[in-house]
């Protein structure tokens, strides 16, 4: 390993990035713009005031009181009052309302007669988040009525009011959403999304550069400049990216996290060290894959399409155990998988060191696999270059 050679190659790589608008855009503009644009999308963290329509056929004081209670919840906003279901269906079909509450005639009468009073809640479940929120809010209001009704019954039997309250709800569930107290969407998705932005822009920019070397037939030249030493070559080629993305990583944890109010409950030092390891592993993998591309445009196109599958296969939005074993196996070969697990445990959960040891070991193994794959590919390409040179000479 020769530091001087590495430095020369690193400077050459930086010059290549500077001179190529596309790589420059992917590495310098895209991460910052996506951070601002996509990060701020979840700035409010959660939704409020989901639009709901109502059909109140009872038009009684009780039905109005019930609807007022629903409207007073944080998640619901009644925006449409219709006279019948056909009229309400129009708003539903136009997506003006996400749900409909239908109160039948005789609601108040039944309520006062202590009879079970059915209310229809029609949900548009094409988007889960809003549908779940409305369902939860309406059911909570119905539960309030249940408690009140039970209390009234007990009081009517001569039980004193304070005891009636206790008897009305003998067992309650105190549900604590640990690590994400408001169970909000922003805290769930944003940390992973920020890392995905870095991962994908790195892969796109870096693969463009590697493919460009092949497109311009500069691979042989780079090998020669590295004196056919893999460490010289790989550190020279990737050093710039490692430095740049280490800086981005600091920006993420020290600036973006506080701006988006994301927690870091574990040690910042281990977070930084493991993040650097992750980026190095991703770069080795990236070099190996990109070395098969002969065109910059093709590298960009393919890499751009890896974002969704790579993100979703890590199990960030779904249960990893519920995936087919083949996908679990593939996922475990991608550095993003153990890193996301580590990130969750280190930032949001802040668990003890020994509880993320497995992820670090997995990441180190993947780093080694990436290194070996890149080394073998380097040897192969080098051999091929030398062979073609020999053929030319002959």
């Amino acid at each position: 390993m020769n530091l001087k050679i590495i430095w020369i190659l690193l400077k050459k790589e930086a010059t290549q990035v500077y001179n190529d608008h596309s790589i420059l855009l992917a590495l310098l503009a895209a991460p910052l713009l996506y951070f601002a644009l996509m990060g701020s999308t979840y700035f409010n963290k959660d939704e409020e005031k989901v639009s709901v329509g109502i059909v109140d056929l009872d038009q009684s004081q009780s039905s109005k009181a019930f609807l007022n209670k629903i409207n007073a919840t944080q998640k619901i906003k009644i925006i449409q009052a219709c006279n019948n279901l056909a009229e309400a269906k129009h708003g539903f079909n136009s997506f003006d309302v996400q749900a409909l509450v239908h109160i039948p005639k005789g609601f108040e009468k039944k309520l006062k007669a202590h009879e079970s009073t059915p209310i229809a809640l029609i949900l548009n479940n094409s988007k889960f988040l809003s549908s779940n929120d409305v369902n939860k809010a309406v059911n909570l209001v119905a539960m309030e009525y249940a408690e009140k009704s039970r209390e009234t019954f007990f009081e009517s039997k001569g039980i004193n009011p304070s005891l009636a309250v206790k008897k009305a709800q003998p067992i309650t569930a105190q549900i604590n959403a640990v690590y994400n107290p408001t169970n909000n969407y922003g805290n769930f998705l944003l940390p992973a999304l920020l890392i995905l932005i870095l991962h994908q822009t790195l892969l796109i920019g870096f693969s463009e550069s590697v493919a460009l070397d092949r497109e311009k037939n500069q691979v042989a030249l780079r090998f020669k400049e590295s004196e056919y030493n893999f460490l010289n070559y790989i550190l020279g080629k990737t050093g710039f990216y490692i430095l740049l993305y280490s800086a981005y990583m600091l920006l993420t944890f020290l600036v973006a996290y506080p701006i988006f109010d994301l927690p870091i409950n574990g040690s910042l030092f281990s977070l930084i060290i493991v993040s650097i390891l992750f980026f190095i592993a991703a770069i080795f993998y990236g070099w190996f894959v990109s070395s098969f591309f002969k065109s910059q445009a093709r590298a960009m196109e393919i890499m751009a399409f890896t974002s969704y599958p790579v993100f979703l296969i890590t199990g960030i939005t779904w249960s990893f155990k519920e995936m087919p074993w083949v996908l679990q196996f593939i996922s475990n070969l991608i550095p993003l998988k153990p890193y996301f697990e580590f990130l969750k445990k280190q930032t949001i959960m802040g668990v003890d060191n020994y509880l993320y040891r497995t992820e670090i070991i997995q990441l180190l193994i993947l780093l080694l696999i990436g290194y070996v794959a890149a080394l073998l590919r380097f040897k192969y390409l080098q051999k091929r270059e030398l062979k073609s040179k020999l053929t030319q000479v002959i």
Binding site: L25, A30, T41, F43, N44, D46, V50, F66, N93, L111, A113, H114, E115, S116, T117, P118, I119, A120, L121, I122, L123, N124, N125, L129, N135, K136, V138, A142, Y145, A146, R150, F153, F154, K167, P170, I171, T172, Q174, I175, V178, N180, P181, F188, L189, M300, E301, I302, A304, F305, Y308, P309, L312, I316, T317, W318, S319, P324, K344, M349, L355
Partner: protein, 393 residues
């Protein structure tokens, strides 16, 4: 001369099928990515979420509660905690998503009319698990609580017909439309697949003309079109449309049936919407291709514009909850409007008139695309309108 566009159409079909890049985008990527995405969510719904229970009472009632938990289709007790366990570590060590803590004297307190709280801790780093746990935990606890209330009410003298009305006066009958099974494949795969179709078509179209300049094949194209730029555009458009419709056909006729995804709506309406959506993306891609001579820069613009389309579409996080700038940005992506129309037809089976607002918006995008095409024709006129001598080559 009249049929010049037909020759261009054939030429473009041939050109695209020979291009490695187009083969990757139209064939390999959709097959691989659609099936990966479908397989991730192939089980549809999460069942048997692993939970831990700490029964500090060990009474008849606490055991009844545990039986209720076991009976819930969404929960599976995989670990019974002891006093030595640290709650926070149990989540990671025992890989559970929720912890149910039944306090000491649970049964006694219920008998003494002392309200009891069962403490439930959910691992809400994943809100899919968090929401499911919340729902199941509330249901199970309310069920047991209601059973206790009924037991307390009965001896006080009540008309049996009024018990239900007293314990649960308002009965919420929930009717779920559009994916009533809460199936994640039905929910996510169509959305993700259509956004990928948009990206594929946009990317390839953004290289439709500048790639010809790069490969020095434009003169041939110009000659074949007899110098008529509109024949060129129409011929190329039809070729891209064939590829775009093939992708949609693959999605609807192969991927959907493989993963058992139903289409509730009218296929004719869906076809009209898809046709317009594909047209808009091809036209926007053409506009960029004519405007930006460097195909790499054109591709950059296409990637930058299209990549966040899914996040901004409001599919997983509603547009109304986004800050104003982001909701504004969401409106300038055609996918946002297509998705609304698509969901209306495909999941809610709404009549065609309800997607007219989305159709109108997509037409506005088409008008913008035509404007960009004209702008490209003006800006790069020297490269587009070749001298007559060259056009006959």
């Amino acid at each position: 001369m009249t049929w010049a566009f037909y020759h261009i159409f054939k030429r473009e079909l041939l050109r695209l099928s020979k291009q490695k890049s187009a083969r990757n985008l139209f064939l390999i990527i959709p097959v691989v990515v659609f099936f990966i995405l479908g397989s991730i969510y192939y089980k549809g719904a999460i069942r048997d979420l692993s939970i831990a229970v700490y029964d500090n009472d060990n009474s008849t009632l606490s055991r009844t509660y545990i039986r209720y938990l076991e009976a819930s289709p969404n929960l599976k007790i995989t670990y019974y905690m002891s006093s030595k366990d640290d709650i926070e570590n149990v989540f990671v060590k025992n890989e559970v998503q929720g912890i149910f803590y039944i306090p000491k004297d649970f049964h006694k307190d219920v008998l003494k009319n002392v309200p009891v709280q069962i403490k439930i801790y959910t691992n809400s780093t994943n809100i899919v698990f968090g929401n499911l746990l919340y729902k199941s935990a509330s249901q199970v606890t309310q069920l047991l609580s209601a059973a206790v209330v009924v037991k307390n009410i009965a001896p006080l003298g009540i008309n049996p017909n009024k018990i239900l009305g007293t314990v649960m006066p308002i009965d919420i009958n929930t009717k779920v439309l559009g994916n009533p099974e809460y199936n994640y494949v039905y929910y996510l795969l169509p959305g993700l697949a259509t956004v990928l179709i948009q990206m594929i078509l946009f990317f390839t179209a953004s290289r439709a003309f500048n790639n010809e300049w790069k490969l020095n094949t434009y003169t041939n194209l110009y000659a074949m079109a007899n110098g008529n730029i509109w024949s060129m555009i129409l011929g190329k458009y039809l070729a891209y449309m064939v590829f775009g419709l093939s992708l949609c056909g693959f999605l609807l006729a192969i991927v959907f049936p493989v993963f058992g995804i139903p289409i509730y709506g009218n296929i004719g309406s869906l076809f009209v919407l898809l046709l317009l959506f594909l047209t808009v993306n091809i036209a926007l891609g053409f506009g960029i291709s004519l405007l930006l001579k460097d195909e790499i820069i054109a591709l950059d613009v296409a990637i930058f514009y299209n990549s966040p389309a899914f996040v901004f579409s409001g599919f997983t996080f509603p547009i109304w909850a986004m800050p104003w700038f982001n909701s504004l940005y969401a409106q300038v992506i055609p996918y946002t409007h297509f998705l609304t129309g698509f969901l209306k037809i495909y999941q809610l089976n709404t009549p065609f008139k309800f997607i007219l607002p989305e159709i109108q918006k997509l037409f506005i995008f088409l008008a913008i695309a035509v404007f960009i095409i004209i702008l490209g024709l003006i800006v790069n006129r020297k490269h587009i309108f070749l001298p007559p001598k060259l056009s006959t080559l």
